[in-house]
Symmetry: C2
Amino acid sequence: MTDEHKPEVSSEPPHRLPPGTAARLSCYLHILMQSAKAGRTFISSQALSEHARVNPTQIRRDLTASGAFGRRGVGYEIDSLIGSIRRIIGAAEVRELALIGAGNLGISIAGCDIYREHGFRITAIFDTDPAKTGVSVAGVPVQPVSEVGDTVGERGIAAAVIAVPAAYAQEAADRLFGNGVRVVLNYSGGLVKAPPGAAVHDINPAEGLLKAMHLCGA
Amino acid sequence: MTDEHKPEVSSEPPHRLPPGTAARLSCYLHILMQSAKAGRTFISSQALSEHARVNPTQIRRDLTASGAFGRRGVGYEIDSLIGSIRRIIGAAEVRELALIGAGNLGISIAGCDIYREHGFRITAIFDTDPAKTGVSVAGVPVQPVSEVGDTVGERGIAAAVIAVPAAYAQEAADRLFGNGVRVVLNYSGGLVKAPPGAAVHDINPAEGLLKAMHLCGA
DNA sequence: TAGATTGTTAATCGATTAACAATC
DNA sequence: TAGATTGTTAATCGATTAACAATC
């Protein structure tokens, strides 16, 4: 009955975004980056809504919650909005990312702008194929998988992406988890068990396809 | 006030799954396929829950809604469950999929098992690079992009995947929408406007990474 | 029989939407 | 001033969770 949790008092800022909110903010951020590239400087919740496929009221609430504010009658200044969202989802700081697997999928992931937009930088790449060792992918030299533990441990890398065949996914994940990685994005299609304190997110593109089919009634 | 909608009476089965349900079923289906491959024949809602990261009660409700039934004290028979889910999400019939872009990303998409698990078959691939024309990717010959309209129109393909550079995404989408495609899965990172009656789903891997970070408190 | 797990209800929780005054 | 859009409230809706009897 006494107030036993909440050990720290002030050092915990509003970093406790509701579950779905972070995902939506990520989506807004990407749209804003693309709009900025296209030369726009202001955007309304209505215009954001059309691309994000989220209700405008929901968007305004999300933006307010992330500390941004717009101008009534005008909309939101894109650059300032990008800054606010980056701050609230932690994308303002650079976060290192390890990548296991330098095949077609790995190479395309390494070249993907959206990670960079969110503050993630792929700074270590690994592959089992000796022919790939030393080759540079998106400016990062490929290392043998045997070096995952040392590299990730020494550099304190906390998050990683797995892009290996399904059968090797757990093995790759274990190397990561065993050396301090706590977050894994799994493209492999294989099932991966995470130890306590760690989390895996499995990429499933069929979900998105089904969702879009649902939207258009097909 | 009169009952004006609902034009047909009986031919509309319970195909109106709630929005989130189809996505969860897709996720279960993938886990079940992997478990079957590993030689398991039965699975409990608890075991499914650990991989899907969804509450066991929610899972039992979803499965019941999809027409599956388990055995109390035992669990669900995996093969039968796969059948039920496939039927309810429409994955029992084969659905053709066009792919635009045969770069690293496109090649990895064409080889991805998860589409096949969900009944999707990539049966047409296009690329602008003449050097790629005629080359076979995952058993499908690459055609020039100029043939998108004819091929998609003639074969009545309703869904497609875009894996081109962001700057060409709208152009690729327009070729598809102009020829009867109503559902597009967009990997490009570019913003795509869909005409009325069509829907786009944008792949954003950073969302998944943020979600996993949220889960493990990082 | 004993143990385990389903199917289902009831209660809670959070997300979504509609509406509108405030104000740029 | 007139038009547009935000910020915010209140109401609705659907998803999630806890609990437990039914039953394999």
